[in-house]
Amino acid sequence: MGTKLIIIVALVLGGIAIAQLMRLYELSSKMSKSDESEVGTRDNNLNGRLMLGFMAFLFLGFIWLMMEFGWTGRGEAASVHGKAYDWLLDLNFWIIIIVFFLTNALLFVFAFKYTKKPGVKAFYFPHNNKLEMIWTIVPAVVLAVIIILGLRTWNDITADSGKDAINVELFSKQFDWTARYAGDDNILGKFDYKLTTDANELALMTTATIDTAIASMESGVNGIKTIESKLNDPSLIMVPEERAKMVEDLSRKQRLIRLLYQMREKHNSKIDASAYDDVIQKDTLYLCENQPYEFTFRAKDVIHSAYFPHFRAQMNTVPGVVTRFKFTPDISTKSMREKKNDPAFNYVLMCNKICGGAHYKMKMIVVVLPKGEYDSWMNSKKGPGSFKSIFQPVVEAPAPAVEPATADSTAVAPVV
């Protein structure tokens, strides 16, 4: 409270001080008969010179920032397309830096040089077609080059990945990432969000997961049966809002369960295998050096964005839609640490689309391993980390449909 008072008092005193200064200024300007509409020669010249001074501040400031921080604060690109990206970025930067210096210099130099001088009249120069043609055409040509080069890189980056790309899915939710490797068949198993249960956080689709989802929705802790019995229990006294909420919850679950039954009808158990061999991985994403990857992205709740600054890669993850991005990491974490001379350095996957309070913490460390190390890591993962061993159908007393807080801790334990 004390500080608040001090702030207010300081503001009031400051106001009074300026008011007094103004009085003084007014008195003095009355004596010297200056007029607010006629800018005096002194003011004009002073401000003209300050324009030059400001130009120096702007340019030197820019050069200092460049030297101190550079334009690749995130370091050398660590992916194949990233090299092309950086080349293009540098080229564009050189173009715009030249334009920045040139036009700002003209602006401030003119502002200085052509300040009013007694007896010098302005030059009446309303238009000139030739000049205007020049500065329409020159930017147009430069832009054409920028567009052509840009689109070439864009087409390469967004093209289909080749056959030898490994499929990896990144699953995003508030506020973490889960990776799913396609396993030996390099096919990612199908999924449907309605199959989400504690034991099946990624909602993969197999005969057993469908059964579990149905069981949990019907007779889990918050299942349809429980809700119905609560609603029909005369001894339970509920506030009307609570009851209304329960009724709504029930009707939602009844709609979902119908869809789940339809799903079971249509399900072909032959595809179960493609899901069971998928390898699920939290916390750290391991990638193999010089191996092309085809990433697909999913979101459970809101939009997130998978941003890999060091690989110059980014793609939004959108609920209800599967998005994709491909890249080939080409510098292992170890060599990057050596290059950067920073033994603690790591690549990272950050969330780059506002997604709620802890958005700024939503990240996953990325480790790029040389082929040998990667293979042995993968081999050790295939058994215990596969969906087949993670997923334990819970038939008797299914857990509540979804309870993310506990889901995390219980499901992670066996994985890592």
Binding site: K4, I7, G15, A19, E26, S37, V39, N44, N47, G48, F54, F69, W71, G73, R74, L88, N92, L107, F110, Y114, K116, A122, Y124, F125, H127, L131, W135, T136, P139, I147, L151, T153, W154, N155, I157, T158, Q174, Y193, K194, R252, K300, D301, V302, I303, V318, P319, G320, A344, N346, V348, N352, I354, G356, G357, Y360, K361, K363, I365, V402, E403
Partner: protein, 607 residues
């Protein structure tokens, strides 16, 4: 001064009301509050916008403190947020997002759309065209009142228990549709949508009025090709608003339906807060298309008026015709048209079809051409001029600088390939603050300094104006220039703090933190510098020296009206226009300006 009593309302006209139509007894309420006079309405817009601008600026200082000194308690923060939202003077994560959201919303819509167009279109369209008032005074009044109500609702939304909207000023669903996802998507978001709906109504009514006035109420001789560039800019701005704001309204209404009526326009396959929703088949990308169909033209709705004002100010104070008048009009029209077919550049990494992305690259980079033409024309106007460096002129020159500096980084962002690694980083924040935020704010200041004598019949203090300009320009560059480098280090925007970097890259973290402290330092300086303006502004309204008839020796019609405001603007007949507004330093003329009302001399050619 009896008028001092009205101070508190802020809509003060410092002069007695001389009205040649004879109704002297016009009451306080109809003169200051429910006024239908375009000049008073313009001032009402200005006062409201200044207030909103101050609020948004304080919000930015609050979250800048968090960014520079994360986790350190601050008295300043706790003063404004209290224990509820900032226990121990450290703001909560949610509140950080809320502040950023409301800051962006107020700056873009309330300060620079409502404030800038509202003030100057109202003030200048009738005065510079030689009209007695807007086409419909009543609708004009309505437009202001809707604006005020929406402003109040937006402010009020910051005080609800679950906090203000927290999904960013772009309020992308599903985040903005699901109260389970973030607390601000409850009541706060509803109020945001209600406020914006009313705001859109205000903007539409205003814009239609401007368009009709420009088309129908030009005085004798005021051909379209003799209109000042200010009017051209306001006119195209109004057209853009009429075509694009309804699309935002539809986006907002669909969002409202998803929130309240259980529809699935934007929602599909979602589990949030442990609840499995049944919505299926909606598309979050639909929202983004609708939003940016407004959102990009919005950038030009903000910018064009500022460019129009600065064209007029630069020409007047350079004592030279604006170079390439017709090319300037052509550029305004081209920018206006192109701004409707570039919205996809905000969506390169949303999963939109890459080919569609290529098309948007092409259209976006096209817009750089008319923008470049404008810059070169400004430069040529200064060349061999006789510059009167009034504060307005200085701000206009500052605008040209920020328009260049912010414009060139747009070339990086418009290139879909390059956008991949800078999208949604601080590089973008730097870009749009300089090109849109700073340019428009500098343009608005230029306008206020230049037309203050016309609005209030008094002059502002020059020296304070200069001091204000230099603090603002240095502060603005000091804040937004380093942000590019934060972005190039890979720092995402809308992050509450960057301590997560500790776990993977401490050298980048050091760099980001160093820069963040520099930025916050300049932000605080720039914010304090605005006190110079506020003081000068309010002080001069009451005590500034009386304005002469035509203080800047300008050619346009507004300076032929009496200094003291009257209904109908001109006491006698409306003026007749004989020439374009830019006959400055015309060879063969004694004086260095020839007002539009002066007939062509024998044998004189129009420009």
């Amino acid at each position: 001064m009896a008028a001092v009593a009205h101070e508190a309302h802020g809509h003060h006209d410092s002069h007695g009301h001389h009205d040649d139509h004879g109704h002297h007894e016009e009451g306080f309420v109809s003169k200051y509050i429910f006024s239908q006079d375009h000049k008073m309405i313009g001032k009402q817009f200005l006062m409201t916008a200044i207030f909103m601008g101050i609020v948004a600026m304080i919000l930015s200082i609050l979250f800048r403190i968090q960014l520079a000194w994360p986790g350190e308690g601050s008295d300043f923060v706790s003063f404004f947020l209290g224990e509820e939202w900032a226990p121990g003077g450290v703001m909560k994560e949610d509140m950080y997002l809320g502040l950023v959201t409301i800051h962006g919303t107020i700056m873009v819509f309330f300060l620079l759309t409502g404030g800038l167009s509202g003030t100057f279109s109202n003030m200048l369209i009738p005065l510079q065209l030689g009209a007695r008032d807007m086409a419909s005074g009543f609708l004009n009044m309505l437009s202001y009142w809707f604006f005020l109500i929406s402003s109040l609702i937006m402010l009020f939304s910051m005080f609800v228990e679950s906090g203000p909207a927290m999904a960013g000023w772009t309020i992308y669903p599903p985040l903005s549709a699901l109260p389970q996802a973030v607390s601000g998507s409850g009541t706060g978001m509803t109020l945001w949508l209600v406020s914006m709906t009313i705001f859109i109504a205000s903007s539409l009514i205003g814009s239609l009025n401007y368009i009709v006035t420009v088309l129908n109420l030009r005085t004798k001789g005021m051909k379209m090709t003799r209109m000042p560039l200010t009017i051209w800019a306001f006119f195209v701005t109004a057209v853009l608003g009429v075509l694009s704001f309804p699309v935002l309204l539809s986006a907002a209404l669909l969002l409202m339906m998803d929130r309240l009526a259980g529809t699935s326009f934007y929602l599909s396959d979602i589990i949030v807060g442990g609840e499995m929703l049944t919505n299926h088949g909606g598309s979050p990308l639909l929202y983004q298309h609708l939003f940016w169909f407004l959102g990009h033209p919005e950038v030009y709705i903000v910018l064009l008026p500022a460019l129009g004002l600065s064209s007029e100010i630069i020409s007047t104070n350079a004592r030279k015709p604006i170079f390439g008048y017709r090319a300037m009009i052509g550029s305004i029209l081209a920018i206006g048209f192109l701004s409707f077919i570039v919205w996809g550049h905000h969506m390169f990494v949303t999963g939109m079809n890459p080919f569609l992305g290529s098309v948007f690259v092409f259209t976006t980079l096209l817009i750089a051409i008319p923008s470049a033409v404008k810059v070169f024309n400004y430069l040529t106007t200064l060349w061999k001029g006789s510059l009167h460096l009034t504060p307005a002129m200085m701000f206009a020159i500052g605008l040209v600088s920020t328009f260049i500096t912010g414009g060139v980084t747009g070339i990086i962002l418009a290139d879909s390939a390059l956008d991949i690694a800078v999208h949604d980083t601080y590089f973008v924040v730097a870009h749009f603050h300089i090109v849109m935020g700073m340019s428009a704010v500098l343009g608005m200041f230029a306008g206020v300094y230049h037309w203050f004598p016309k609005m209030f019949g008094r002059m502002m203090n020059l020296r304070l104006g200069y001091a204000h300009f230099w603090v603002t320009l240095v502060g603005a560059y000091g804040v937004f220039f380093p942000m590019h480098f934060v972005g190039l280090a890979g720092a995402p925007r809308r992050y509450y703090d960057y301590s997560a970097y500790n776990e993977f890259d401490t050298s980048s973290l050091d760099m980001i933190m160093d820069l963040n402290i520099i930025i916050t330092f300049f932000a605080i300086i720039a914010a304090i510098g605005q006190l110079l303006f506020l003081f000068n502004f309010f002080y001069s309204i009451f005590r500034g020296p009386k304005a002469p008839q035509n203080p800047w020796k300008s050619n346009t019609l507004e300076w032929t009206t009496p200094v003291e405001h009257i209904h109908g603007n001109w006491p006698g007949e409306l003026p007749t226009v004989y020439r374009w507004p830019y006959d400055y330093s015309k060879p063969g003329s004694e004086v260095d300006f020839i007002p539009q009302t002066v007939p062509l001399a024998d044998g004189e050619e129009e420009h």
